[in-house]
Subunit: 297 residues, 2 copies
């Protein structure tokens, strides 16, 4: 088997010989293959030498296949057909909105995006949708996730395709009970008199966490949580003032916006896919759907 394999250690030479056998001249085969005719003749020379077998009778105006060349013509045609069918199947799969789809996002985006994804899945019943809430950067190239929805600076990992979902206003919110007890926020100079909810001090991954760290005394951070969802839960429970996207806060009638949103708080949201699957209909469909349906009214 291995000894036989050595005869055909270059499948591209077979492809070239097949085209010459099919078309009859070096020039035509070269045009079909998109290479120079010198390349074609060299492939034929190499293949014939390796096989120790003449594949063609050579004439000034083209090549005619020998019996061996005709045999190779048949095998080459079958191979090309098989590859074309494989290509069609792969494209067919890629043209479907079906199969598994793993979406990863920060927990803070879940209350907003999970219902949207649910509607998408209802529209495509063949889709097996998985939503993973994870701070950790799931590896798109490892297939741990197919779509990552990220906030903050534009992701720059190589081999990733990044698309902006939108830039969303963020502001400081508190529960009305908190406001009744501690009062409103008169201005940004009065931050120290209030209690705040933030992320872990050691991390401060989010630009908003860093903003709080720079503008609020440490003694005024009343509550720290590793997950954004826990942070928003604390705000909703009246523990303190914290950042939320305006449209997420709008879902809660008991939340009060403490100050107008600053432009620097605006947060871009990115849809990230791996280039190897970006072109599939599935990925195009989910990206388009999120762009159309995750906007804030």
């Amino acid at each position: 088997m291995n000894a036989q394999n050595d005869d055909f250690e270059n499948w591209d030479e077979i492809r070239t010989a097949y085209q010459v056998a099919r078309l009859g001249t070096l020039s035509a085969a070269a045009a079909q293959l998109g290479v120079h005719h010198a390349t074609v003749i060299r492939h034929i020379d190499a293949l014939e030498a390796r096989l120790g077998c003449k594949l063609f009778q050579r004439h000034a105006r083209g090549y005619t296949p020998t019996e061996a060349g005709q045999d190779l013509l048949k095998v080459g045609a079958a191979t090309e057909d098989q590859f074309a069918q494989l290509s069609g199947r792969l494209r067919g799969k890629g043209a479907e909105v079906s199969g598994e789809l793993i979406v990863t996002m920060l927990s803070g985006l879940s209350p907003w995006l999970t219902p949207v994804l649910g509607v998408f899945q209802a529209q495509h019943p063949d889709l097996r949708l998985t939503v993973m809430l994870d701070e950790r950067l799931l590896r798109l190239e490892y297939g741990e996730a197919h779509l990552a929805i990220r906030a903050g600076p534009k992701p720059t990992e190589p081999d990733n395709i990044v698309r902006l979902l939108g830039t969303f206003p963020v502001s400081l919110f508190a529960h009305r009970d908190y406001v009744a007890r501690y009062g409103t926020l008169k201005s940004l100079e009065g931050l120290a008199a209030h209690r705040f909810v933030s992320g872990l001090k050691t991390a401060q991954r989010s630009p908003l966490d860093r903003w709080l760290g720079q503008n609020v005394p440490e003694d005024s951070i009343a509550f720290r949580a590793s997950e954004p969802r826990s942070q928003s839960d604390a705000v909703i429970a009246g523990v303190g003032i914290g950042f939320l996207m305006s449209h997420i806060a709008a879902v809660h009638p008991d939340l009060v916006m403490m100050t107008d949103p600053l432009p620097e708080w605006q947060t871009p949201i990115w849809l990230v896919t791996h280039m190897a699957i970006h072109r599939t209909a599935k990925m195009q469909a989910i990206s388009g759907f999120l762009s159309d349906n995750a906007s804030v009214n």
Copy 2:
């Protein structure tokens, strides 16, 4: 069709991906293919990018094929099988002493070699043997002939495989009737008193013709013929003295050797084949047969 073809414009990448899918690691595939693992990963990267489709899940300890990768595994296995069978058929044909065999030689060698070739053909009834007597240099690479039997200096055409059949003594012969009428050849100093048979004056391709041209007065060349066979016919008919190989002349009891053979008259005979077919059993068989059976006893 052409659009589909573009997906698989590099059949060697498919071969590489097939080996990875089959063996599970880049290293194993690289070893099997005889390339570096860097080459393997680059072929996979290129193919996945071109297809826009993940073929593998990538892990630190190897690759597992996706559904698409498994599809490619099946197609690759079928392709490899088809190519292996093609290889077997070509080798099988090459292992047979059958089909067409065209042998070309000078006419002067025909009385000696044609019977030998006839015996060879009788031993291989599936062989379609053609003997072409031609001064013109038939193109081995064009398939006009498969085996050329040539005399004189060693042929040097590229892509030809040349094998010495033997070096044969040549001498000057005349018919006994000629000797009865004109006497014997006392020495090489008495050449002018005799009549000779030679090739065309304008050609003098053969070293023997040139020897005559240099050592015999032109008036003593009684008979010129373009074909060596015609020349030997004239000698046999008693027209004059002419060169023949000793073993060919020995077939004619009426021919008399006029002088001992000179070493410079010795003539090497070469078997010439084209490298593309040289290794086939057919060519090996005919070359071996001629070496064994065309010797002079």
